[in-house]
């Protein structure tokens, strides 16, 4: 055992932060606040789950924020203007976003391009397309929206576990199981270790790349639907910069930006840490909400530095002779 695993450090930071906040504002330690925190960050948790797969596989997906934005506009227009039944609209946008991700994955693999560039192009493409659909905010009045918004599991202490929070928790748990327990998950780690070696060892690298980006875009699509539930509208400027919050959550959650290591659980904790900072600032009431960004920035720095130290520590025993391991 050499040091703490990164996830554990993230968990300790979260718990310590929560205790500190609760000491100052005892009300924070209530199911109501915690449930609100989950609801407010539901879309972030969903999209960050997909991003975790991408980053562990050694890639990056900058397009997720734009896909969320496009999804909200598409869903709003489909329901309000084109008269689609909401469920049909949801199915259509999920198929569309999955195809979009698959296409980016295919381009990355076939042309051997850096994911950064390909998904950057995807980001502009999706954002541009959403402006093409509508430049103004489109309110959604379909009955399903009020039904979903009103639905909640009541918890003791006044907390309301909303539908979107439940969707997020299901996706996080499903994502964690997919990553840890399946062959797909093992291959994601393998790809992050080394694409060349993984391919030599029999992993179908091309197929995997396509599926990973498909998963990320699909989850971004789901996050978009959740976001439209949350705001009750479709707007082409929504979720601008969310890809960066997402990457921050993944990294704070202990996933290596270079790939090969990380976990969905860690990412979820990273999302909660960001949410906690936001909650603290809301409670304080005097701080500018931009302090969230500053605190996130400081945390990111700290975690990246920590990762470098961990990597350096992990490398050291490799030069020791056999038998020295335990």
């Amino acid at each position: 055992m050499k040091g703490l695993p990164p996830v554990l450090i993230t968990a300790i930071v979260l718990v310590a932060g929560f205790v500190l906040c609760a000491l100052q504002f005892p009300n924070i330690a209530s199911t109501r606040v915690v449930c609100n925190l989950l609801t407010d960050n539901a879309f972030l948790g969903i999209v960050a789950t997909g991003m975790t797969f991408v980053i562990i596989s050694g890639g990056i997906d900058l397009s997720v924020g734009s896909v969320i934005g496009f999804t909200t506009v598409f869903v709003a227009l489909a329901i309000e203007r084109w008269g689609m039944p909401p469920l049909v609209a949801f199915a259509a946008i999920l198929a569309l976003s999955a195809a979009f991700g698959a296409a980016m994955g295919a381009v990355i693999h076939l042309f051997d391009l850096p994911p950064f560039i390909v998904t950057l192009a995807g980001m502009f493409l999706a954002r541009g397309a959403s402006f093409l659909l509508s430049t103004e905010s489109v309110p959604i009045t379909a009955p399903i929206y009020s039904t979903v918004s009103d639905f909640a599991l009541r918890l003791p202490g006044g907390g309301r576990l909303t539908a979107v929070a439940i969707i997020m928790l299901v996706i996080v748990i499903g994502g964690a199981l997919l990553l840890q327990l399946t062959r797909f998950g093992a291959n994601v780690y393998a790809l992050g270790g080394s694409r060349v070696t993984a391919s030599l060892m029999g992993v179908a690298v091309g197929k995997m790349t396509i599926r990973i980006y498909m998963l990320s875009s699909l989850l971004a699509g789901i996050a978009g639907i959740v976001f439209s539930f949350y705001t009750g509208a479709g707007y082409s400027l929504s979720a601008v910069g969310v890809e960066l919050d997402t990457i921050a959550a993944v990294v704070i959650g202990g996933t290596l930006l270079t790939g090969g290591q990380g976990s969905v659980v860690g990412t979820f904790l990273g999302v909660l840490i960001q949410g906690l900072i936001q909650t603290y600032i809301n409670f304080d009431g005097t701080l500018s909400s931009w302090w969230t960004k500053i605190a996130t920035g400081v945390l990111l720095f700290a975690f990246i530095a920590l990762q470098q130290v961990m990597i350096a520590l992990a490398r050291r025993p490799a030069v020791r002779p056999a038998g020295a391991t335990s």
Binding site: L181, T182, R183, G185, A186, N187, Y189, A190, G192, G193, S194, T197, A198, S199, L200, M201, G202, V203, G260, Q261, A314, R315, P317, A318, V319, R320, P321, A322, G323, A324, T325, S326
Partner: protein, 514 residues
């Protein structure tokens, strides 16, 4: 079962393999035969064609001619994955596994035991443990592979290959980063696998290990097959002759008797110079107008000596003097400042810049020496380039041609020109005739002699012993990273060098290495 008899079934047959890279013929009509249950050493100096042969057999490179038969059936894998599926597994010096995954995942990647779409982690670990137990390893298979030593990683790679029903196992320099104890573990495993009928190809430049483990030896030189022998009946001297010597007849006669007795001024001297774990301390005097040859097997410390002399590697003991005055040689810049030049062995990666023109390559070192603030004018550059293109007869005589388009011999001349342009007092040439056709060979040798007559001091490394004999005034012989003998005058001939290299040294072989 220690040695397999000739009657053992032929497992892998390689017949008439040829492979060229552009104008360079890396393999010419090479045969190789591996019998079931034998450990077969594949030997040769750098550039002999060992790696190319392995890569052609395992489908990494397409072959130009020849056939490969495995168990009697012809195979032509297109990739190392296909080769693995056919039953030929390769474990490279750099372990080709994933250090971030657990040992168990590495062993069973993409073929994990599954139930309802879920990897049966417990079952996989149990199988991994059982598999490694066959190789005498009892480790925590859930830990990441990268947390284990290279030796364990090697064994894991071998276990995976064997478990994938490999019939032929190619081990490329498997012992290079292992210590003595780990080597013994590996050898035990190799013998055990051979006992199960697996054919093992063992590539190594540690001759003691080759004698310890192998049943049979195949030697390549310059892309050609030199011969196949049984290890037990091949004396070490004979083996080294196979690896290094060419037609021994033509050697000594070609030697220039011209410059023998006159005492020359010392250009640079090194006393007790060395670096622990790199090269043992040595004394070396380099005189103006004299060629000193460095002879020895691959890995004997020739290149290491050259790098120390030039300053490409920091020494940690001893004193260097240039023209009698003590100097510090800690970086290549120091070397350049004192008028040293170094043409490295890896022309492509360490020497020429293929995309730049002949002119730009030639002025590179001179410009670096002058510094950024004294740029050479285009006219000066043209003059210098034109002079050296003419002097060294670089063909085609076009200074504006990208160097990458020139033949190997002409690239070598451009490298020489680069250093000559700085008017050096000492030039270090590492394998100046490697990968060059025979005509250019003679020309480079002629150039070396001419340079020497102009008062330059030269330190030349070569695996071609007859070549060293031809141009050297003195020859330093290296073995196991130490200078073991210095030959002068009449004593310089191929058989003396071979004798010095082959002197039995099994006791020091491993301990000399880091």
């Amino acid at each position: 079962m220690e040695t397999s008899p000739d009657s053992a079934p032929c497992l892998l047959e390689v017949r008439g393999i040829s492979k060229s890279f552009g104008a360079v013929r890396a393999l010419q009509d090479v045969d190789f035969t591996l019998r079931a249950g034998e450990i077969h050493a594949l030997l040769g100096e750098n550039g002999a064609g060992k790696s190319t042969l392995i890569k052609v057999v395992t489908g990494v490179f397409p072959r130009d001619a020849g056939i490969v038969r495995l168990g009697g059936a012809e195979v032509a894998p297109r990739s190392s994955k296909a080769a693995l599926e056919a039953g030929i597994a390769t474990v490279y010096q750099e372990v080709n596994l994933l250090p971030n995954l657990s040992v168990a995942q590495n062993l069973f990647l993409d073929r994990q035991p599954m139930r309802f779409g879920i990897v049966r982690e417990g079952e996989m670990r149990r199988r991994a443990k059982a598999l490694l137990a066959e190789f005498g390893l009892d480790i925590d298979v859930a830990a990441p592979l990268g947390s284990y030593s290279v030796a364990i990683q090697h064994v894991t790679a071998i276990a995976r290959a064997v478990d994938l029903s490999a019939r032929v196992l190619i081990l490329d320099e498997p012992t290079a980063s292992l210590d003595r104890h780990e080597v013994e573990i590996l050898f035990k495993i190799m013998r055990q696998l051979a006992g199960r009928g697996i054919g093992i190809v063992f590539v190594s430049h540690f001759l003691d290990q080759v004698y310890e483990i192998s049943d049979r030896i195949t030697v390549l030189r310059n892309g050609r097959l030199v011969g196949e022998r049984e290890t037990a009946s091949l004396p070490r001297l004979e083996l080294i002759r196979m690896m290094l010597g060419r037609e021994l007849a033509e050697t000594t006669s070609a030697r220039a008797p011209a410059s023998e007795q006159q005492v020359r001024e010392i250009c640079a001297s090194f006393e007790g110079y060395g670096k622990s774990g790199y090269v043992a301390p040595f004394n070396l005097e380099l005189r103006h107008g004299e060629v000193v040859g460095l002879a020895g097997l691959l890995g004997s410390g020739r290149t290491e000596t050259a790098r120390l002399v030039f300053g490409a590697e920091r020494s940690d003991q001893g004193q260097a003097k240039v023209e009698g005055a003590p100097v510090r040689l800690q970086t290549p810049r120091d070397g350049v400042r004192h008028g040293f030049g170094y043409c490295p062995e890896e022309r492509k990666t360490e020497g020429i810049v293929a995309e730049l023109t002949v002119r730009e390559n030639i002025v590179l070192a001179l410009q670096a020496k002058r510094g950024l603030y004294l740029p050479l004018s285009r006219r000066e550059q043209d003059e210098i380039a034109a002079r050296f293109v003419k002097l060294l007869d670089i063909r085609p005589p076009d200074p504006e041609r990208p160097v990458g388009l020139l033949s190997g011999g002409n690239q070598q001349k451009v490298l020489l020109a680069r250093w000559l342009a700085t008017s050096p007092r000492l030039l270090v040439l590492d394998e100046p005739t490697r990968g060059i056709d025979v005509g250019a060979h003679a020309e480079i040798i002629r150039l070396i002699r001419e340079l020497c007559e102009d008062g330059l001091a030269l330190l030349v490394i070569s695996s071609e012993l007859d070549e060293i004999v031809t141009y050297s005034d003195r020859v330093v012989v290296l073995r196991d990273r130490a200078h073991v003998e210095e030959l002068q005058g009449e004593a310089i001939d191929v058989s003396n060098i071979l004798a010095a290299i082959a002197a039995d040294n099994s006791a020091v072989a491993q301990e000399g290495r880091p």
